[in-house]
């Protein structure tokens, strides 16, 4: 499949990169070798901190001051980029090699119109006048599938959706027909359905232009859908490189095997469907609505009507004892809003029945309720107080809800329960890794022996392999304690593995609640079907 006679468009040869730090040099990349031919997509897969983005910066020649390059070459169509001056690179970037970034909401300047940001590439590299560039820009936006290009050009970034913005970013990357484009996790910040559309657009444009593409991602399943070849990077080392099929069917390295095993596979269920749907559920949410925004002072005085934003629109669902109920939906669909209402962080209308008790408002959520209903948040960095030791963090719920005798031993037991060494009690959160921090957050939630734990996207900030181990831990705890989970996630493959039932939410409404194994049946609601179709499952095809 690779044409050996042709010189590769991009070739990285024996390239190493160091960062000078206070603790001596840090080897970010070690002897990297890879090449991409015209028309080819090379997937670069690795966990956070593996050096995949560092490699992108190296290729773009956009390195921080403390970077050092002990050796190697980076060739773009035969030109060694390491020997190019900054001025020469400025003429290369955007014209011969360009980049699509992870989050379109931060990679576009908030105070310049989309058209201005798109045309500046054309003006700079193709020497067009402002009017020509504007016209060309509209044509480009049309090409990336935006419906009203003329109007879109005039919009400011905050007036466009994430998907629309990412299309604009892609349009500017393709604007000058570059030889090579680096895609740095271009769909990670987008919704499931939007990211599917962006991915389709990328595949289409790539086939049309034949641009050599380096597709960086942490998601093996996603790379398998797009790339022809995959390189697996671990701690600055490329451990394995080969065609997608080879990597999936015959991985050589343990690390690659681990990565593949960690990818959630919906056909491989991790829980038994033994939860009875009872007449007396543990929690019953009855027509709970959440509205945001308060009346401005002036409007209240003048009696002017103000529109409130609806976060949840009359949601009714129930969780049975020991059940794992998954909630899926796009960002902004009201998943977390519901979780916050149930834990008393959002005001709500409607009723919540918990264990036979009626909760009508926040004031009904007393200590006993809070003891029984615990929440774990997405970012452990934000939910653990950075100035408290782990022991302090974990002893707080014990003092609040349990008996505070023999705290030291109990904290140690809790840490052991979540597979952390007892000695971690003396550490501060910043001394732990992301996965370890989330384990501490889990231990904290379980400290009060709750009946329901709400997990709000708790694995989405973690790497795939770490996610797998955290999920495993959660399932074990569930088995041991019989706690029910409300598991909020946007990862459909994961939730299909672990949930008993799945609730699908869309723009504040509950679309439906279905049994996990029936979610891909054709009788599902339109939106659910679209969601299921959008999720890349290619990994399964090779297994």
């Amino acid at each position: 499949m690779t044409n050996i006679e042709n010189r590769p468009v991009l070739a990285v040869e024996n390239y190493s990169l160091d960062y000078e730090t206070a603790n001596g040099p840090y080897h970010a990349l070690k002897n990297i070798n890879l090449s991409i031919n015209r028309g080819e997509i090379l997937g670069l897969v690795g966990e956070s901190g593996s050096g995949k983005t560092s490699l992108a910066w190296s290729i773009m020649r956009y390195l921080p001051q403390n970077a050092g390059e002990p050796g190697g070459r980076i060739l773009l169509g035969g030109d060694n980029l390491l020997e190019k001056s900054e001025r020469e690179m400025e003429t290369f970037r955007g014209r011969r090699i360009s980049m699509v970034f992870q989050d379109p909401s931060t990679s576009l300047n908030p105070t310049l119109s989309l058209g201005t940001q798109l045309t500046e590439v054309l003006i700079r590299h193709r020497g067009l006048t402002r009017q020509q560039a504007w016209k060309e820009g509209e044509a480009l936006l049309d090409r990336v599938g935006l419906k009203t290009p003329g109007q879109m050009m005039l919009r400011m970034p905050h007036e466009a959706s994430g998907g629309e913005k990412q299309r604009v970013v892609i349009a500017s990357a393709f604007a000058c027909n570059p030889e090579c484009i680096i895609f740095d996790e271009p769909t990670t910040a987008l919704d499931v359905i939007t990211s599917r559309q962006i991915l389709d657009l990328f595949v289409e444009l790539q086939a049309e232009t034949g641009v050599a593409s380096l597709y960086i991602s942490h998601d093996l399943a996603l790379v398998a859908r797009t790339a022809g070849r995959v390189a697996v990077i671990k701690r600055g080392d490329i451990v394995e490189q080969g065609t997608v099929r080879d990597i999936f069917t015959n991985p050589q390295q343990d690390y690659t095997k681990e990565l593949i095993a960690a990818v959630p596979d919906p056909s491989h269920r991790l829980v038994k469907d033994d939860v009875a749907i009872t007449e007396t559920p543990l929690v019953k949410v009855e027509k709970v609505s959440v509205h945001f925004g308060r009346k401005p002072f002036l409007a209240a005085l003048t009696g002017k009507k103000t529109e409130r934003v609806t976060g949840n629109n009359a949601i009714s669902l129930s969780v049975n004892p020991g059940e794992i109920l998954g909630i899926v939906g796009e960002s902004g669909s009201g998943k977390s809003t519901l979780a916050k209402a149930m834990t008393g962080l959002n005001r709500f209308e409607g009723k919540i029945w918990f264990d036979g008790r009626e909760i009508k408002s926040l004031s009904d959520m007393d200590n006993a309720y809070r003891k029984d209903v615990q929440i774990i948040f997405q970012h452990p960095d934000a939910s653990l107080n950075p100035r408290q030791k782990i022991s302090e963090i974990l002893s707080r719920p014990l003092k609040l809800f349990g008996d505070a005798t023999d705290l030291e031993k109990k904290v140690g037991d809790m840490l052991e329960q979540v597979r952390l060494p007892r000695t971690h009690a003396n550490r501060y959160p910043h001394q732990l890794s992301g996965g370890e921090k989330q384990r501490v957050a889990i231990a904290r939630a379980f400290a009060s022996k709750p009946k329901l734990v709400i997990c709000d996207e708790i694995t989405s900030a973690l790497d795939v392999s770490v996610q797998a181990s955290v999920v495993e831990l959660l399932l074990e705890l569930q088995k041991a304690s019989g706690t029910a989970y409300l598991f909020i996630t946007h990862d459909l493959n994961l939730i299909r593995q672990i949930a008993h039932r799945i609730a699908v939410m869309y723009r504040g409404d509950l679309i439906e609640v279905v049994k996990a194994e029936e979610i891909d049946s054709p009788d599902r609601a339109d939106y659910t079907r679209r969601l299921i179709e959008a999720v890349p499952r290619a990994a399964a095809n090779y297994q």
Binding site: T106, T111, A299
Partner: protein, 304 residues
């Protein structure tokens, strides 16, 4: 919103002057006046009415543009205060102008050359500027430029309409003294904002589109970095109003600050009320304009 603010300010101003240990009637008639004379005067001045009535009658006159009559001179205070305000505003506008011309480039240089010698020099100078109060810088400035060098007149005020060059010469020292602190403050602000902006993803994205550094700075970074500066400058007007009082006193400029000091010394209640109200109104209006300007420049912000 600004109407509410001004209303509340008028309440506070009135309340403060009520608390002041001064009786207008005693002030006018002197310590030895008879009780009958005092009572009669209080009645004609409406000082025997309940406080809220006094307040609303005062407010009603203020709304109509009548700020009251000075107890000291017997003249209406409004025209005097507004004339003084005009002189103070001239001083303030010139100071802000000088500040903007110097502070923004200094902040930009410091941010772009972060950690280099230029950055440290700017930091040093701005620390010195923040640390020295205006009466110290003013005294030093008068000593050096007026007393030793004899380049500029030490104190006094000449209207620009009367003698332009002399008027300008009298303004140079006060303007410089006021701007020093502003420059220190604003250049540090510009620097830190710009440093933040230069680390954003969209700046990196622009650079990786092949846009040269200088142009990225001009088109992408500066606008976003300077936006918060508008708010800071508007807030600094508050400092300016206070600082102006000191500087006007030192340089003997008959601005609103000086008028206010005279009024306070003479326990001239209507004049104090008028002066404070005018200053508060100026501050509110400036900040109101700044908010509108900000919303106009940053399209993401919308006010209902």
């Amino acid at each position: 919103m600004i109407v509410y603010t001004l209303f509340i300010v008028s309440l506070i101003v009135f309340a403060i002057t009520q608390i002041l240990p001064a009786d207008a009637a005693v002030m006018m008639l002197g310590e030895n006046a008879t009780q009958e004379a005092l009572d009669a005067l209080r009645q004609t001045m409406g000082l025997d009415a309940p406080i809220w009535q006094q307040y609303f009658s005062w407010l009603w006159h203020v709304v109509q543009g009548d700020l009251g009559t000075s107890l000291r001179t017997g003249q209406p205070v409004g025209p005097v205060m507004f004339e003084a305000l005009g002189r103070s505003l001239l001083l303030a506008v010139l100071s802000i102008g000088l500040m903007l011309v110097l502070a923004i480039p200094l902040g930009i240089i410091a941010a772009v050359r972060r950690g280099k010698i230029a950055d440290m020099l700017v930091s040093l100078v701005s620390y010195a500027g923040v640390a020295l109060p205006e009466f110290v810088t003013a005294t030093i400035a008068v000593l050096v430029f007026a007393d030793w060098m004899k380049w500029l007149p030490p104190t006094g005020y000449v209207p620009l309409t009367e003698n332009f060059t002399a008027g300008l010469a009298h303004l140079v020292l006060p303007v410089c003294v006021i701007s020093v602190i502003l420059i220190a403050h604003v250049s540090r602000m510009v620097r830190s904002e710009l440093v933040d902006v230069l680390h954003t993803d969209y700046i990196r994205a622009a650079r990786l589109k092949g846009i040269p550094r200088r142009e990225v700075l001009r088109r992408h970074a500066l606008r976003n970095a300077l936006l918060p500066t508008i708010t800071i400058v508007a807030l600094d007007v508050g400092y300016l109003l206070g600082g102006v009082i000191v500087v006007e006193e030192i340089f003997a400029i008959p601005g609103i600050g000086r008028q206010l000091i005279v009024a306070i010394q003479a326990r001239d209640l209507p004049a104090i009320q008028a002066g404070v109200l005018i200053m508060a109104a100026t501050y509110s209006i400036v900040n109101f304009i700044a908010d509108i300007l900000y919303a106009w420049l940053d399209k993401r912000i919308q006010y209902d």
